[in-house]
């Protein structure tokens, strides 16, 4: 049974990792928490559902829906975050983000209805290796997660744009002085984060075969816990945190009690934060006087 739980945990952890990356990258560049991220994800999943209804092939559906999600992510930043320049910016952006989140959630309820919709883009089939059973959806989830993480690695560490992004996350003011178009980099960061979230949303929608307007909330919270756990702002941290949370949740639900399934992510996060306040991969933060 242990390996079965482990496999399930790794699959769900991959999805958390993809969502956590969106939180972590935005935090790295702007030092704000994008609370509307989970609702952008939900919107993308609904688009995927509609495209599947139109009879598009799966790969085209995923790419188009994720691109739409990326566009929505950029729009959210343009509309709700960028105009806020003065005042206690962090708090103002937070409330603005919460407003955006309410807006998107209720808009989805209005457009698509509040009931849970089944999502079966991929036909389900099971494989067995020894005692471990896994479905083809799990294999697809793991493959897509691996491909996305690889692409992200190449973009961030091997391209000029990636250098600019990392420069922004070290110090955005200095990056501006070095001739980097920071507004463009911010938009790209949001686009990449939302693109990954769109794919994650479609994957989890197919995995549980359920799409509904509030689906983003718990997924987003756990992914955020994963980002914090790994050290927010760090890409490796977000990935590691996602897998840790996924595996612990799966093992906890299997061995301790499944009714507290949603609590394990937070309990683990609190314990790790108390032991190591900057997260697993987070840089040590030194307050300067």
């Amino acid at each position: 049974m242990f390996f079965q739980h482990l496999v399930n945990g790794i699959v769900i952890g991959g999805i958390y990792a993809m969502v956590a990356l969106g939180y972590s990258m935005v935090y790295g560049v702007l030092q704000i928490v994008n609370w509307a991220h989970a609702d952008v994800l939900m919107f993308g999943t609904f688009i995927g559902l509609i495209l599947t209804g139109l009879g598009l092939p799966v790969w085209a559906m995923i790419i188009i829906a994720a691109s739409f999600t990326a566009a929505l992510g950029v729009t959210v930043e343009r509309v709700a975050y960028r105009p806020i320049k003065s005042g206690n910016r962090k708090m103002a952006v937070l409330v603005s983000a919460l407003g955006m989140s309410t807006f998107l959630q209720n808009l989805a309820q209005l457009l698509f209805g509040s009931s849970t919709k089944p999502f079966s883009a991929i036909k389900k089939g099971n494989y067995e290796i020894g005692t471990i059973i896994f479905s083809n959806i799990q294999v697809i989830i793991l493959t897509i997660t691996a491909i996305m993480l690889l692409i992200l690695y190449i973009v961030v560490y091997k391209t000029k744009m990636g250098v600019a992004m990392r420069a922004c996350s070290i110090n955005i003011e200095n990056a501006k002085l070095m001739g980097i178009n920071t507004n463009r980099i911010i938009s790209i960061t949001f686009a990449i984060g939302a693109f990954m979230a769109g794919i994650a949303g479609i994957l989890i929608g197919t995995y549980y075969s359920a799409v509904y307007p509030t689906m983003g909330y718990l997924l987003g919270m756990k992914a955020f816990a994963a980002a914090i756990l790994g050290g927010i702002g760090s890409i490796q941290g977000a990935v590691a945190g996602g897998f840790v949370i996924g595996i612990i949740e799966s093992l906890g639900a299997g061995y301790i009690s499944s009714s507290y399934r949603d609590a394990y992510a937070f309990i683990v996060m609190i314990i790790i934060l108390v032991i190591r306040p900057s997260g697993i991969f987070g840089a040590k933060h030194i307050d300067k006087v």
């Binding site: 806020i84 409330v95 989140s101 507290y260 992510a265 934060l273 306040p277 307050d287």
Partner: protein, 342 residues
């Protein structure tokens, strides 16, 4: 000199003298007490009582976020804890509501201080997530520990409190009960704000290191903020339980915490009138938008974004208020010809 006068004449309309403020406050108070005599519609009264409840909650949360600068996203946990402890004590042991209430407040206060302890090492957004996580774990506990909390169905038919042989029931009675609570909270916060303790807390908020240099212990003030804020929220929780007559885990969800934080920031950090304005606005706004039926929550979200873009410091921010006070002092000086600096 004339330049200063010219400068202030621009602002004169915005500045109120203490006497005008006092008169304004008395009018508000009389209006608040006369309200149930004029409004007989039960539904409207319920909305106003909800406004009072949220105003109290916002004040208690503002103490944690605004005065002490710790970003708590799990305030609903304290609110719910107060409600549940008070109710369970009155129902299971037959204790008087007021005793149970006090026990609930003390217990929650101690719990809040304990919860704050692990977050002392953390900064900013991390505190938000730890408190949010606690709120979520608490809600799951309420839903799953069926033996203690009676699970997702909640606790129905909570008896009305009896004070000196008079049973408090009916909307009008509860209205005055809530009003007294709110006034008590306002007086408390006002005194707290002007006390040395409150100022020390704000100093810790401004700059930890400077506070240590002044001989203040930041940990003490941060924990105190949680203890006081949590206790206040529990107080309202107990009231909420007897007012509604039933409680269920769904009333203490994450969305409620988010609502309280929105009210706090929208009203203005560390501002007493701001908290009340924020709470009234965000409680009444969905009701005012009721005619748009299904569009109302969409509009509500959009309104929050727009308000933050145009008023990022909140409706009644502390900065604006202190500036106004300075303006008043300076202006009076100009009027009386005492202002020598020009």
């Amino acid at each position: 000199m004339s330049r200063i006068k010219e400068l202030f004449s621009k602002y004169r309309k915005k500045v109120f003298s203490p006497r005008t403020q006092l008169i304004f406050m008395i009018i508000l108070l009389v209006a608040a007490f006369a309200c149930p005599l004029v409004i007989t519609n039960k539904y409207t009264l319920h909305i106003i009582i909800s406004c009072f409840i949220y105003a109290c909650l916002t004040l208690s949360l503002n103490l944690i976020i605004g005065w002490s600068g710790q970003f708590s996203l799990g305030h609903v946990c304290f609110f719910g804890m107060g409600a549940y402890i008070t109710t369970l004590l009155t129902i299971n042991t037959g204790m008087n509501f007021f005793f149970a209430w006090i026990i609930g407040v003390i217990f929650t206060s101690a719990f809040a201080a304990l919860l704050c302890y692990p977050t002392l090492k953390l900064r900013g957004d991390y505190i938000a997530v730890v408190t949010l996580g606690f709120g979520e774990v608490f809600r799951l506990f309420l839903t799953n520990a069926v033996d203690i909390t009676r699970g997702p169905a909640g606790i129905p038919s909570i008896p009305s409190p009896i004070l000196f042989g008079i049973e408090i029931s009916g909307k009008t009675m509860f209205y005055y009960f809530a009003l007294v609570l709110l006034l008590g909270f306002i007086v408390f916060m006002k005194r707290f704000n002007n006390s040395g303790f409150g100022m020390a807390m704000m100093t810790v908020n401004e700059d930890d290191v400077a506070a240590i240099a002044l001989g203040l212990n930041p940990k003490r003030y941060k924990m105190a903020a949680f203890a006081i804020g949590g206790g206040m929220a529990a107080l309202i929780g107990g009231f909420y339980a007897v007012y509604m007559g039933m409680i269920a885990p769904t009333s203490f969800s994450y969305a409620e915490s988010i609502k309280m934080v929105s009210m706090t920031v929208l009203g203005g950090l560390a501002s007493i009138p701001g908290s009340i304005i924020g709470a009234f606005l965000l409680t009444a706004l969905p009701e005012a938008l009721r005619s748009f039926s299904e569009y109302r929550m969409v509009l509500y979200g959009a309104a929050m974004v727009v308000m933050m873009i145009f008023k990022p410091d909140g409706m009644w921010s502390r900065n604006k208020r202190t500036k106004n006070e300075y303006k008043y002092v300076a202006m009076r000086g100009v009027k009386n010809g005492k202002n020598s600096a020009s």
